[in-house]
């Protein structure tokens, strides 16, 4: 394991890591079982520090909370019922995704209540442990690809880009992953190793003011690098974005950035997803 990264476990459990470090530490933790175990123990320890600060809450708080829950719909479980086998631990991503504030509101917790693993839908040559997952979802994946093709026709102004996007989506080795975005909506990624490209599109993301833009990141051992900005297309979808993942890239991130984009993420990611596995 990477000793330097590993020493961040204490600061991580204390929520003392700056946002960028959180992304990279979680990226590391997703692949480092001993780190994840250590963080769990340290988080439990930090929780005791919290309990030690217990203080009687104002009596009015109970009434307010109870009144509020009467009006708040509960979230359904995040487990994907079509996934009959748990993903191997090493394939799990960090839980950070739900830990992200939906537009303005600060997140729930996320670290422990991880969202489901993405709908990993390899279209071909899937490893055995994924086969049952794939069987359940392959139809959905095809539908997604078709839908994306339709979106591309509507949304892509540049014919050449459209052609390339369709080539990626139609490639025989294309793999599709769909991920929930914490601020709302879904991100769909289609990666074709033979084409060396990945198409990223979204549906249902909250509209942003003109001063802000959705930016996609590719995250590898050297950190996060800009992969492009998502443009609002017609309706609630964004124009398919062609990206070029490099060997070693592990994850795809999505953040809200100032108009024009940033060189490095400046806000909490609203999605961090594993790259469709090659």
């Amino acid at each position: 394991m990477n000793e330097d990264l590993h020493t961040l476990s204490g600061a991580y459990a204390l929520h003392a890591l700056p946002e960028h470090d959180v992304v990279f530490f979680e990226d590391h933790m997703a692949r480092c079982e001993s780190c994840a175990v250590e963080v769990r123990g340290l988080s439990e320890t930090a929780a005791r520090l919290g309990v030690a600060a217990a203080e009687a809450p104002p009596a009015a708080l109970r009434a307010r909370v109870m009144a509020r829950i009467a009006e708040v719909r509960q979230e359904p479980p995040l487990l994907d019922r079509t996934v009959e086998e748990p993903l191997p631990k090493g394939r799990r991503t960090g839980d950070r995704r739900t830990d992200v504030p939906p537009s303005g509101e600060h997140d729930a917790e996320g670290r422990r209540a991880g969202p489901p693993p993405g709908d990993v839908v390899p279209l071909r040559a899937r490893p055995p442990w994924r086969r049952r997952v794939a069987i359940g979802l392959v139809a959905a994946a095809s539908a997604a690809a078709v839908a994306m093709g339709a979106i591309a026709v509507d949304a892509v102004r540049d014919r050449d880009e459209l052609r390339q996007a369709v080539t990626v989506i139609a490639a025989s080795d294309a793999k599709t992953v769909r991920y929930p975005v914490s601020s709302g909506g879904v991100c769909t990624m289609v990666l074709s190793p033979s084409q060396g490209r990945m198409v990223v599109t979204t549906r249902g993301l909250p509209p942003l003011p003109d001063s802000r833009v959705y930016e996609v990141w590719l995250m590898g051992p050297d950190g996060a690098r800009p992969a492009g900005l998502l443009e609002q297309a017609e309706g609630d979808v964004t124009t398919p974005l062609l990206t070029t993942p490099l060997r070693g890239d592990q994850r795809v991130g999505l953040t809200v950035e100032p108009a024009g984009g940033s060189d490095r993420p400046t806000t909490t990611p609203i999605m961090v997803a594993d790259l469709p596995s090659v």
Partner: protein
């Protein structure tokens, strides 16, 4: 035995069998179960928010948000990934820290940190922590840390400071702070007998 394991005056809901079960009932929409969860967790959640954000009204807001979030997302609690207590307290701490950090423009905060360098504000923090801690066990375990470990852990956890800020406050290198946070927490973990 059990009383020795529990901080005086502060319930340790995670050790009462049932918080996990209660949450699974809450996930099914049982308001009575949530009422019980509230009994167990409102004090710790509110107290932690108070400790971090200080302002009572804001701490109440944070506590309310967290407790409603427990109701809303109970179905997403996964007991294989840690205790229910840890799930909720992590959420409470995260929200408290977010509240503190978003309240300050980052530049203002940096200025404040550099201004505070050398002024030993941590004495005040850690003393407050140690004298006000209701948990005997936690206090004893904190007492078993080196000064630097204790300051690093308490400034981050109760003060809501990031580790670069803590390094600035304590005037020690970043790497040292990272390491002290980790080995300090490890020592606390072992002292408190937290299951791994």
């Amino acid at each position: 035995m059990r009383t020795e394991r529990e901080p005086a005056g502060a319930p340790v809901p995670g050790e009462e069998p049932g918080l996990e079960e209660l949450l699974s009932q809450v996930a099914l929409g049982h308001e009575q179960a949530f009422d019980r969860v509230y009994d167990l967790l409102a004090g710790p959640v509110f107290g932690l928010a108070r400790r971090v954000v200080r302002d009572r009204a804001q701490a109440e807001e944070v506590a309310q948000e967290v407790l409603v979030e427990v109701w809303r997302t109970a179905s997403r609690y996964d007991r294989t990934r840690g205790s229910a207590l840890s799930w909720v307290m992590t959420m409470a701490h995260r929200r408290s820290v977010d509240r503190v950090r978003s309240a300050q423009a980052s530049t203002a905060r940096e200025e404040r940190v550099s201004r505070m360098s050398g002024e030993v504000p941590y004495d005040e923090v850690s003393e407050t922590v140690t004298t006000r801690l209701e948990g005997e066990r936690v206090r004893r375990c904190l007492g078993g840390l080196t000064d630097l470990q204790r300051q690093a852990v308490t400034l981050a956890y109760y003060g809501g400071y990031s580790y670069p800020e803590v390094a600035g406050l304590l005037r020690v290198p970043l790497g040292t702070v990272k390491t002290r946070m980790r080995d300090g927490l490890v020592r606390l973990r072992d002292c408190m007998g937290v299951e791994r």
